[in-house]
Structure formats: structure tokens, C-alpha cells
């Protein structure tokens, strides 16, 4: 392969040990005093980070701590404003992703960089020169993919279309893309965010194998137990700076959490005893169609009681989104019944549901939760602006709105310059707090809550969790849809697992374990 031989020539001066892929190893990569600014933000402040061949180095930090920015500079997507990157002791500059790939660096981005309409082989071959000049050589590419797949234990079919693949399979394609390009150093940005626990185990096997072969690996995550499980060393970032680098062995979750957040963090909540009351949300044989006309929710029946948090677990794309949309009136119900507080609301519009005492915290908070351009206070009265105290007849009562906004902002500890600030300028966690404030202020009897802490930092997550538990104590029936098993296990009283639109099983909290939920999420009946 022309690309490979060029890379070999580039490295021929160094007496390098070859990887099983035939590429030279990267013995060491150092990022020294890296500084990166964006308008108004210092994203990386004199960051030092390094990784060696055969090592898995974890990069830990909250959303917005600067991890992804750091990696994007390694991947050639951004250029540092200050500092140097050294490969095997020599300074290098990455002007583009192609530069960085050429030097043996592979990036696995958090959002997969795959073209769904192309096959696996086409995705791998994209951007590479062909052995036949202008014409593609997909047959040769497929052969090489199969050879690499066998070597690294990555199960992949080169001729499958990417849209047909599961999330775990798509991730294997991403790793294959990097290996195929001769990556000696692989940086994985939140690779486990979308995987089932079993898929995480498989991934870890592959990563350990790669490290043993002499690859250098960077593992970015905010999941503490995974970092303790997989990494040799860990670097913690907070507020654009590195706050600690040390061997992982001997570190505890509590210690890592403290380093990441900068204060003590509660990893376990005190819950009041479980005292379920009357059935508040009753779903009977619900069928809802998905975007492609398939049955996305398939005969789902469940009951959520007063003072209960009912969790729904599942890998993204198994009908949870459609279920939440049907329950909030955003997606038509095909057959079945939905009863809220004794009122039949199967086909009701959102306004009727709100009137019946149902609140909702939507999954897509920027699209369905708020109006981005509106101010914080306008977003706080979004559904309730039509009646007292916010308005009289057709006129808005600005004094009342300002007073109530101030109270909610204080009570929910929303960090915002003012109530008039456009909400899009707030962080994810603070936007979520505004939505919570609006929805909980209505004193709901039923709360539909989807992915409440996705993309929210630990501090805000903790606060949101406390508020949800408060609602539980106050008697609200909460349906909590989440892909975060830790969150479900910490809050729920009962947990249902959705797979392929169906409920696999409903388990009481004290009988639920990560392993058991993981198998159900993968479609295996326990």
C-alpha cells in the first residue's frame, strides 16, 4: 500500500519496533504546555499530558473540562495557540487530520465519524489512495480488514452497510479504520457512553490486547469505575487545567471524583423508604410507530405509582425516545391506552396532559425543552404564560414574571448572569435546572423524565438527582428513562429494561445488578 510505505520511509531513521500491523510503534507522545483559546474561553491552560507505547492512559474530567479540545489538537482538528507536541522526543505539528493520521495517530470520536450509507469497507477506504489509481480496490481493502479483524478480535463484516450495524459494531468499525491506517496511538473519546455493559467488556478486551501489542492508548471518560478497571495511569482535568497525574492502581472512586469536581461528591443518596401509593400513570398495550414506519414501541404495559421512581433502562434506539414522545403527546399512539391520574389521555395534546398534572423533562433539551433564543425567564413561563400570575387577559404581567423567575433561579441554583440572559448561553447543567424548575414548579402528579443528566456535569447531576428524590418523597410518580445504569440504580424503585421496543422484564431495585440489566439490554432473557 502506497500510504503504508510512505509512513515506513518516514520512520526508517529510527530503529523502531514494529506493531503487528507492520507499523512502527510510537514509543512516547508528549503534549507540553498546550494552550488553546476560543473567543471568550480558555479551553486548555498549559496542559501537560503524555502516553507511552503499551500503556493505557485515562483522561478524566467533567464535560467542558477541556479533554476533547486537547484530543482535537492531537488529531489535527485544532491547532494549539501555545505549547508543543512531541513524538518520540521530536516536536511535530499537525496542520490537519491527514497530518496526524500520517504520523500514526488514530482518533475515535465520541460521535462516530461513519457514513451510514456506505459499507464498512467503503468507510475504511475513504480518503485513502487506491492500489488501482483512480479506481477503488475494495476487494483488497476487505481482505486486509478481515486479516486485521482476526488479529485483534474485532468481529466485522466488510460488506455490511454501516446503518445496519449496532452501536457496538459501529465502534469496532471506528477502531478498524484507525488500525487500517496504521495507528500506533489510539485516542478514544468517551467510547463506552453508548455501549451495554457486555459490549464494554468486549471493548476492554480489544483495548488490553492492543496495549499488550505495543499500541499507546488514550482513554477519555468520566466513568470512574471504568477508568479504575482499564487504565494504567490517569490524568484528571478540571477547568481547562490538569489537576493530577498518577498511576491508577490504588486510586479509589471517591478520590478520583474529588479530583475531578474539586470537592467531596456524594456517590450514594439517602432515599426515604419506598411507600408506593395509587397508580398515577397507567400504560396498557401501547404501540407506537418509529420514524421509519416500524413498531418502535411494541405492546408496552406498565404502572407507575405515587411516590415511586420507575426506571426504564436500555441501549439508545430501543424505543425509549418514541415511548417518551408518545407519553408527552409529540408522537401519535397507534393502539393501547395511557391513563394519567385516572384521566384517559391516550391521544391528548400536550396542553391537556399538562392540565392533567403531567410534567416532562425531554431528552432533547435544546430542541424540545427550551426555546434557545428566549431568555431564562421567558423559558421559565413557556407553558404557563397564559394564566395568572404571569398574565391577565392578553397582557403579560412582567413584574410577576420577574419576581417568580428570580425565586426559581435562586431556589434551583441556576447559574446565570441574569434572568434576561438568552438560555443558549448557559451550560447544559444550568439549562437542565431551568427546565426542572419550570416542570417541578407546576407540582406535577406524574413526571416523565428522559436522560435528565446526559451531558450534565457531576455537580449539577447530583443536584438534579436530589430534586428527583425530593419529588419522590412528595408523592410524584416519576418515569425515569435513562441510558446511565448508575443513575437508574441510584434513583429507581423498580427498573424495566426495553429491548427492540418491548419490555424484557421489570425488576425490583434490590434485585437489579449491572450484569443482569446488561444482559436484558442486549436482548438476553435472564
Amino acid at each position: 500500500m502506497a500510504h503504508g510505505s510512505k509512513l515506513m520511509a518516514l520512520n526508517s531513521q529510527r530503529m523502531s519496533i514494529l506493531l503487528p500491523t507492520g507499523q512502527p510503534r510510537i514509543e512516547s507522545m508528549r503534549m507540553i504546555n498546550i494552550t488553546k483559546r476560543f473567543p471568550g474561553v480558555l479551553a486548555n491552560d498549559k496542559v501537560n499530558f503524555d502516553v507511552k507505547a503499551g500503556e493505557i492512559h485515562a483522561l478524566l474530567g467533567e464535560n467542558g473540562a477541556g479533554k476533547s479540545t486537547l484530543m482535537r489538537q492531537l488529531g489535527g482538528l485544532y491547532r494549539p495557540d501555545g505549547g508543543e507536541i512531541h513524538l518520540d522526543g521530536k516536536p511535530v505539528q499537525f496542520k490537519s487530520p491527514a497530518d496526524s493520521i500520517q504520523r500514526g495517530i488514530g482518533m475515535i470520536h465520541q460521535h462516530f465519524m461513519l457514513v451510514p450509507t456506505l459499507t464498512v469497507a467503503e468507510n475504511v477506504a475513504l480518503g485513502l489512495p487506491s492500489s488501482r489509481g483512480l479506481q477503488l480496490d475494495l476487494d483488497k481493502v476487505s481482505q486486509k480488514i478481515e486479516k486485521l479483524a482476526q488479529r485483534y478480535g474485532l468481529k466485522i463484516h466488510p460488506d455490511a452497510y454501516v446503518w445496519q450495524l449496532s452501536v457496538g459494531e459501529q465502534q469496532r468499525v471506528e477502531i478498524m479504520k484507525a488500525l487500517y491506517r496504521g495507528a500506533a496511538l489510539l485516542a478514544l473519546d468517551e467510547p463506552t457512553a453508548v455501549l451495554t455493559p457486555q459490549e464494554v467488556d468486549d471493548l476492554f478486551k480489544v483495548l488490553r490486547g492492543m496495549a499488550a501489542d505495543g499500541h499507546a492508548l488514550i482513554f477519555i471518560s468520566h466513568k470512574l469505575h471504568e477508568i479504575i478497571d482499564i487504565s494504567h495511569r490517569v490524568t484528571v482535568m478540571r477547568d481547562s487545567k490538569v489537576v493530577a497525574t498518577h498511576p491508577t492502581a490504588g486510586s479509589t472512586k471517591t478520590q478520583l471524583a474529588r479530583e475531578m469536581v474539586g470537592r467531596e461528591v456524594i456517590l450514594q443518596y439517602d432515599k426515604t423508604p419506598y411507600k408506593p401509593g395509587a397508580a398515577m400513570l397507567r400504560i396498557e398495550d401501547l404501540v407506537v410507530m418509529g420514524d421509519r414506519g416500524q413498531k418502535a414501541v411494541h405492546d408496552v404495559s406498565l404502572i407507575v405509582r405515587e411516590g415511586e421512581i420507575f426506571g426504564i433502562a436500555g441501549v439508545s434506539g430501543n424505543g425509549q425516545r418514541e415511548l417518551a414522545e408518545a407519553l408527552t403527546g409529540l408522537r401519535p399512539v397507534q393502539t393501547g391506552r395511557v391513563v394519567v391520574a385516572g384521566q384517559e389521555l391516550t391521544h391528548a395534546k400536550p396542553a391537556q396532559r399538562i392540565a392533567a398534572g403531567q410534567s416532562a423533562i425531554p431528552e432533547e433539551r435544546m430542541r424540545e425543552g427550551v426555546v434557545k433564543e428566549f431568555s431564562v425567564s421567558e423559558n421559565l413561563i413557556l407553558q404557563d404564560h397564559g394564566h395568572e400570575p404571569y398574565s391577565r387577559n392578553i397582557f403579560l404581567n412582567f413584574d410577576a414574571i420577574a419576581k417568580e423567575s428570580k425565586r426559581l433561579i435562586d431556589e434551583f441554583r441556576v447559574k446565570t448572569p441574569s434572568a434576561e440572559t438568552p438560555i443558549k448561553n448557559l451550560s447544559g447543567g444550568n439549562i437542565q435546572k431551568v427546565i426542572m424548575a419550570r416542570e417541578i414548579n407546576r407540582k406535577p402528579r406524574v413526571l416523565i423524565c428522559a436522560q435528565p443528566t446526559r451531558g450534565v456535569d457531576i455537580g449539577a447531576s447530583e443536584y438534579i438527582h436530589q430534586r428527583l428524590l425530593e419529588q419522590r418523597s412528595a408523592g410524584t410518580a416519576t418515569l425515569l428513562i435513562s441510558e446511565d445504569l448508575d443513575e437508574l440504580l441510584a434513583l429507581s424503585d423498580r427498573i424495566a429494561v426495553m429491548f427492540d421496543g418491548k419490555i424484557m422484564s421489570i425488576i425490583d431495585r434490590d434485585k437489579a445488578t449491572v450484569e443482569r440489566l446488561g444482559l436484558l439490554m442486549a436482548g438476553v432473557k435472564a
Partner: protein, 311 residues
Amino acid sequence: MSELFSLTVLTGIAYSGIRLATPYLFAALGEMFAQRSGVVNLGVEGIMLMGAFTAFAMATWTGNLWFALFCAAFIGLLMGLAMSFISVNMQAEQGISGIGMHLFGLGLSSLLFTKFLGSTKAITGFQPIKIPLLGDIPVIGEIFFNHNILVYLAFLLVPIAVWVLNKTTLGLKIRAVGVKPEAADSLGVSVSKIRYLCVSFGGVMAGIAGASLTLALINLFQENMTSGIGFIAVALVYFGGWTPVGVTLGALLFSLVNALQLWIQVLDKDKVIPSDFALMMPYVLTIAVLAFGKRTNQPAALTKPFDRGSH
């Protein structure tokens, strides 16, 4: 009207249909590449008008048809580059900027025509070339193998487009950029380069499509002479499901309807069918196709500007 179904007339309709497909094919295949890379160029009609005028003026002044064709292609390239700059660098709303490009081409071609030519005589365009042997086959030969060079070139473009799109590294890049530009970018493929290339190629093809009107089909220039062919070409890309073969079938369908309405106007001496109705047929078909056609193959990033920082 009964003579409509005689062999001579049917042969005539089929022959005209193939001949009239030329501008649709050039314009729609070029536009297909632009759209596969993620850019809708609604200015095809304006570029065609400029191509038609340029070719006609050059043919009138120099008498060299090939030079005239080259100049039309060059004007198409310039306008394609302008459209690339507007959509790729400036990240403008493509629908609106395309309409601007159309009005620019419409106005400028009329202005230049009035200023430099006014009313002129028809030129002698490209003449039919009968292919040896094949051209002698009864009916078939008459329909397919006795056309001017631009018709052959237009149809030759189809297999080339299929090959480039599906079998080459360039085609793979185009397909990727139109669906998920950030993926292509992360592998070192320049999204801007690919889009510039495709939109500019579309411009060249639109210029040639316009030239095919003045150099082979009508041999005259009139203000707004394209009368919607450029817009239909954009619609044909949707109709053809963004594939070269689909686009070709669509182009043939439209040109056959066009040929049919021309023959109806000629044969229908008693005006049983009002000529306005016949004229309307291609446009009604366009609307029907866009309203009822499915869009399952639409490139996911169509009309969306790419910005590395925004994801």
C-alpha cells in the same frame, strides 16, 4: 389526430425525445454531482442562459462551434465557482443564493444580447452524424444513431458518471461528503475541495446544456429561452433518486413528454387540445414528481454548510 399513432410519427417523437434530452441530461447530471456533495445549486437555469448566450455569440462572431462550446463551458465554470464560493466559504442559504444566480444569469444574458447582438440570424449548428452500420438499421437507426455530436456526448456522460460515482476514490469521497462531511473531514478529505469540484463541474455542465440549445437544438438565442429547463433539471435529480441512471430515465421521460406535446401541437390542426395545455404538460409532471416522489436516497447533508467547529 389519428396519425399520432403511425410508425412515422412515433419514430419522430422518439427521435425528438432523445434529441431534446440533451440539455436536461447535461444540466441534471452536473447538478446531481453538486447535490451528492451536499450543495443544491438552484442557479442552473441562470447558468444555462449565460451558456446559451455565450455559445451563440461566439458562434455568430467566429463561426467556430467547438470554440463556442468551450466558451460556454468556461462561463459555466466561472458561475459554478461563484456558487461554490457562496455556498462553501460564505455558507449562504443555498435556495436563496441559487435564485439570485438564476436572476443574475437571466438579466445579464438578456442585457448582453440586446447590447451586442439584438436580433440576429440563426446560426448553422452541429449537424446530425449518422453512425455507420448502426444508423442503417430501420427505425432503431433512425431513432438512436442519427444525432448531432452533443446528443452522443450527453449519453456518453451517463456511464462515466456511474463509474466515477461508484467505482473511484473520488466518487467515494463525494458520496461521503454529501452524507456526513465531518466523517470525511476527520479522515483528511477536504470537504471544501470536493464541494468546489462538484459544484463547478455542475456549472460547466449547465453551461454546456445551455450551449446545446443554441448550437444544436434551436440555433437561435432568445431572452429566457431555457423556459424552466434548468429548474426541471434540479427536479430531475430528486426524481432520479440522486443516481445517474435514475436521472437519465427522468430526463428521457421529460423530453419525451416535451416531444409529444410538440407533435400534438403540429398534428392537432382542429385545436381539440388547447396548445397551452400541451405546453403545460412538462411542468405539471415536474410538480407531480416532486410532490409524490420519495426522498429516501436524499444525501443527508444536502443544503447544510460544513463547519469544523460546529459539531
